[in-house]
Point group: C2
Amino acid sequence: MHGLMQDWPLVCSRIIDYAGRQFPAREVVDRSIEGPIRRTNYGQIRIRALKVAQGLAREGFKPGDRIGTLAWNSSRHLEAWYGIMGMGGVYHTLNPRLFPDQIAWIMNHAEDAALFADITFMPIVEKVAPLVKSLRKVIVLTDAAHMPETKLDNVVSYEEWLGGLDGDYTWYDSAEADASGMCYTSGTTGDPKGVVYSHRSNVLHALIAAQVDALGLGSREVVLPVVPMFHANAWSIAHSAPMVGSKLVMPGARMDGEAIYELLDTEKVTLSAAVPTVWLMLLQYLEETGKKLPHLRKVVIGGSACPRSMTQKFRDNYDVDVIHAWGMTEMSPLGSLGSLKPQMADLTGDALLDLKEKQGYAPFGVEMKITDDDNRELTWDGKTFGRLKVRGPAVAKAYYGGAGTDQFDDEGWFDTGDVAHIDADGYMQITDRAKDVIKSGGEWISTIDLENLAVGHPDVAEAAVIGVVHPKWDERPLLVIVRKPGREPSKEELLAYMEGKVAKWWMPDDVVFVEEIPHTATGKIQKITLREQFKDYRFPTA
Amino acid sequence: MHGLMQDWPLVCSRIIDYAGRQFPAREVVDRSIEGPIRRTNYGQIRIRALKVAQGLAREGFKPGDRIGTLAWNSSRHLEAWYGIMGMGGVYHTLNPRLFPDQIAWIMNHAEDAALFADITFMPIVEKVAPLVKSLRKVIVLTDAAHMPETKLDNVVSYEEWLGGLDGDYTWYDSAEADASGMCYTSGTTGDPKGVVYSHRSNVLHALIAAQVDALGLGSREVVLPVVPMFHANAWSIAHSAPMVGSKLVMPGARMDGEAIYELLDTEKVTLSAAVPTVWLMLLQYLEETGKKLPHLRKVVIGGSACPRSMTQKFRDNYDVDVIHAWGMTEMSPLGSLGSLKPQMADLTGDALLDLKEKQGYAPFGVEMKITDDDNRELTWDGKTFGRLKVRGPAVAKAYYGGAGTDQFDDEGWFDTGDVAHIDADGYMQITDRAKDVIKSGGEWISTIDLENLAVGHPDVAEAAVIGVVHPKWDERPLLVIVRKPGREPSKEELLAYMEGKVAKWWMPDDVVFVEEIPHTATGKIQKITLREQFKDYRFPTA
């Protein structure tokens, strides 16, 4: 027996239509790429998105076409997204921090037909555009006055282009399963893999993200997404803020402490989201200047683990609540958030900080489990760790073109590649990447836990742990140390420092000292290179 | 081009699975029908719902079968819902306030196969069951000790029935478009019409209802839904509370001021929802006893218009925020809620009360428009009123069996039968029922506005306004008055009182005095009877 409720597809044009109807005057403020702070609103953004859709359709771009964006968080970028989706196209966000040849590879793989780009990225566009055969047009997100010189063909300034359009356009009638957006994961191994969002997944993810215990977005909030739209949908804020009428404040190209502080202060931002690095810069700026954060209530921190001291500083010095979150490009991206469940509502001090170090619990719409290598589900005891697997309406079921099929199983579970434990209250904590975890005699050892412990030693600048083959135990941990300038801790001193703080059988079998540990472009330890470096190493105990 | 996100159907079993996994110990407290306050939790409710599903399946009930419930808000009722939906069945809530022959008509129309009923309703069940041919089993929501005597066959107590089941059951694999629930509208004219909810509409409606500016439900809230599950899904709370882990407090059969106060106080309820009548009883009780409401933050009031004085009392005397809401059985039911948009956040005094008299604005997922009789859309100016039409994923597209097709148009708009205006900020106010509004010389006159004005006169006990045929103006308003005991206001006095407070052409053409105005079972003025009563009336001016 069928229900008799309306067929009202979950498509993204409804989000901007809603914002334009119910919150037309609600502001969207950004630091423009050209310099000054700029103000617009949802009513204007909707009209300009209609023009974008009209313009793309008029130039022969078709529903399903991938349209790249290489842009900072700005109102123009937002207009481009809704315009692209509104004509049935697929916004394809490109990460400007990648090398130009990687960007070209990704654009060719997706067969991007057009590109919206910020003026700051024109040097990249100059290199990339000639390499992408499918690319027919570049729209530079600026006005005629600020248009950079270029030798490329088919380049136009956004404002000139919009000037020729009246917005008399009806959104394309997308189905909710149609693709709406695309983002490639920048894996440390192998080629990048394309995640393809649907209208349905974007809308559902926004409904989930806006919930009280997720981001907690309402119309009276002022939200500053520092997390980029070019990576994982700005944690849904580009969809969920217009859906509920929150004021949006966009940082543009400047994410230093002073610039972020200025927006937080002048726009009275109540809620923000960013990776730890950004908050580190802000906290430094605040300490140097003695400034405070009277308006800010909550910051959502993810992308990499939020240090305990950061949570504590925000709370103790600025009365700001930190919500530690975890997610992935493949999850749209929100997977878990560290809001307090009722049984934790009264926690304070170290107990609260202990909880806040975990990445939080899954909202409705995200299923989570941890398994061993044989896919047997493991218990939620806060200690036992295993491969973290997830399911949900905003979780990928495949990559574009069929890559990475081994990450998806028959029951729809996506293997995140992370290793985690989950406690009895449902709070998850990432303990390692699956490819880094050390398997010693059938048991798993977390390299991240060992690294965090080792860097606590006052003479250690940086620490990395890798597994090295061992004849008896399969693998054993090797601790790689960069010493602080002028310090000379011995192997024995370091091991003595760690002893008693981890299980005996977790203790590294050896310690080696190096000048430098290799890093990825985003600052993570490049363990694959490190393992390559130590491929001929043998333990003295072996 | 299709998106590549998971096929994760929006089905209701996922709600109770989520609550059972993430909030197993979160309490569900009710005033049991047998008397004492009873405590359980989502973990237990999930297990018992699995038993209900297992029991129904074992006795041969099939997916798609309609299973009636005739019950107060209680944890057992909640278990029954999730059990019924979990085996693929359709919970069909029956309103015990209807006459037994109406209940039997509705059950026969839906062909209910089984019935879950509270002990209080056994006298009704005794009358109704023999009239419903499709009915094969009655499960009385109590234990063996409290089981009433009955001559009916195939009757069992819920606890005995559950006692024979182990809950080792896998939820039926419903599609999201499958029916999940049913509720008949008790129209004042014609036969009741069946609304058929789907799994998808229930889940989406709960995601929408829980949003910050809708009900604003989070895990740390304690929610008391006085609004019955037997009518319009308890305003989604039976779905949205477990979805986010709110503690649930259920009033059972007692909704008097003292009983509600006791639950609000002992369970530290933060949020409640009910019709104005319930709040009137509570406010009287509080005034008599001098008690306060230290825990309650917010009450959602709908079902009929919330009087201004009620909003004021809650705010001034108890520091409780009133959210005026509007909805319909056909809308799952939430249609609009009077949360404050940012531009109103600082309103106080009369300006705030003026706004709070309106029924609020539509959340994302509800589209609204007002039209004239020719379906031309009318402007949102807070004055022009017209037929209120709605669209959305939790709005009906048809009634069960095809009744009432004239309420649905080709573009999917559902004609609510209400007349309303919407202001420039999107706030809607119901001004009349479409069948009651008076059409005078092509212009519309709101009977509700005139009635509200007339009852403000100190000598008036009750007022009703109906349209009576007029040779020149088609229709003109007739004011029907019940005088307060011992008072004798004249026609001239009443009209003088109203003059200047409404447009001149809205003024009633005549006033008549009666002993009594007819009412429906739910206390609304029965205008159809009143019009019948005055069908031979002619205006002196005609």
